[in-house]
Symmetry: D2
Subunit: 125 residues, 4 copies
């Protein structure tokens, strides 16, 4: 069984590429359409939590049937992200690690510990 510990991003990208290739769906998989698709699937993921309080959402996420729905919707978002990276030949891993490095500087741990806004910008979280 595959798990995140031994599956490369590249292996997932290839699985997505094979699926799209098999249906000759590349003409539909333009950057513009794929960005819409990512947003559409993101909305379906949100729908799982739309009317739940934060606590209810947390609880629902522990129920096996609901977990499996959430995993499915998350997979849809990730699949389209990988298809966009295939369409544009972008390396996801360097994009992610590069962005985390930028964020390290943008959100210094000392200033943002336990808060999502700088203290001086007002509102304690």
């Amino acid at each position: 069984m595959t798990t995140d510990g031994d599956t490369t991003v590249g292996a997932l990208r290839q699985a997505v590429a094979r699926f799209v290739d098999g249906r000759e769906w590349w003409p539909f998989h333009t950057p513009k359409n794929l960005s819409m698709s990512i947003a559409i699937e993101a909305a379906e993921l949100m729908e799982r939590f739309q009317w739940l309080t934060a606590e209810e959402a947390q609880q629902a996420s522990q129920v096996p049937a609901e977990r499996s729905c959430i995993a499915d919707e998350l997979a849809d978002v990730v699949i389209y992200c990988l298809s966009l990276s295939n369409a544009l030949d972008l390396d996801v891993s360097s994009a992610v690690l590069g962005k985390l490095q930028i964020n390290e500087h943008r959100y210094p741990a000392d200033e943002f510990r336990g808060r999502f806004r700088r203290p001086e910008r007002g509102k304690k979280v």
Copy 2:
């Protein structure tokens, strides 16, 4: 340098977890909030293509400065997806490969080759 070919999904998940840990942001990273965050970043990715024709979007995606913006926005979506998988302890790789398998059956290559709708449902693509 890291690339998708030799980076596991698990390694990216750990990098994201370290970032969130370092700021003690877990209380904010509830499933509900993260689903909103994924959708918000997906919208920022769409914004790169909002007013462009399909062709202009394709061309823009080849310009280095624009490619780097797109990679950045894509990274934001993926980072929140990985944070959600961390928050819920969901295995992204099995979710993705499992969903592709479901889609193999839902969209048989023979019926959907070059079309995103079944022929009988009308409208040729």
Copy 3:
């Protein structure tokens, strides 16, 4: 001063049309692009509440400066909705009242009072 009590939907649609006309933006205001724009502005509205608890969001919505930001983002969503109705010559009022009538039947008050799911589907809200 204009208020919702004495402003017709048509008057708002005309104000939006004049703005778009003045810039000759119709070629950009295709149905596809406008649907993206509505979603992008909806995400900016969500951003106001992204990291807030339900209670914090409610409180923030009473602070004048924040209220004004929220009103601005809501206006952006509505403006693009009105531009889409202009582009497609769709009557918003009949669409809204028609949909509410459908929903009256789909969500009978007796079964859905205080719940967003039918009782028999399980989960008490």
Copy 4:
């Protein structure tokens, strides 16, 4: 029959309020949840155009059955916008007209005619 020409925004807001009242759905209609709902419905509207080219989307929008689906999805977005304005007691008309006035200054007709970016920012549209 109601039309945009003789329907006030306030009348639509009241129709939405009656619907929500009848089901005692106010506890669900928090600002945070409604912002998610607007985004979710916006995504369903986008879905109508997801895989279509700009031209196909335009054509589809003229087909009666498809027009009616689009009107329905647009109505869903607008209904949640009106419910948010009810929940926060925000005047939609002044928000919209106020924002258009801001945009008049932000996007001077002379500089933005036929373009969505300032000429000096490069890229001719």
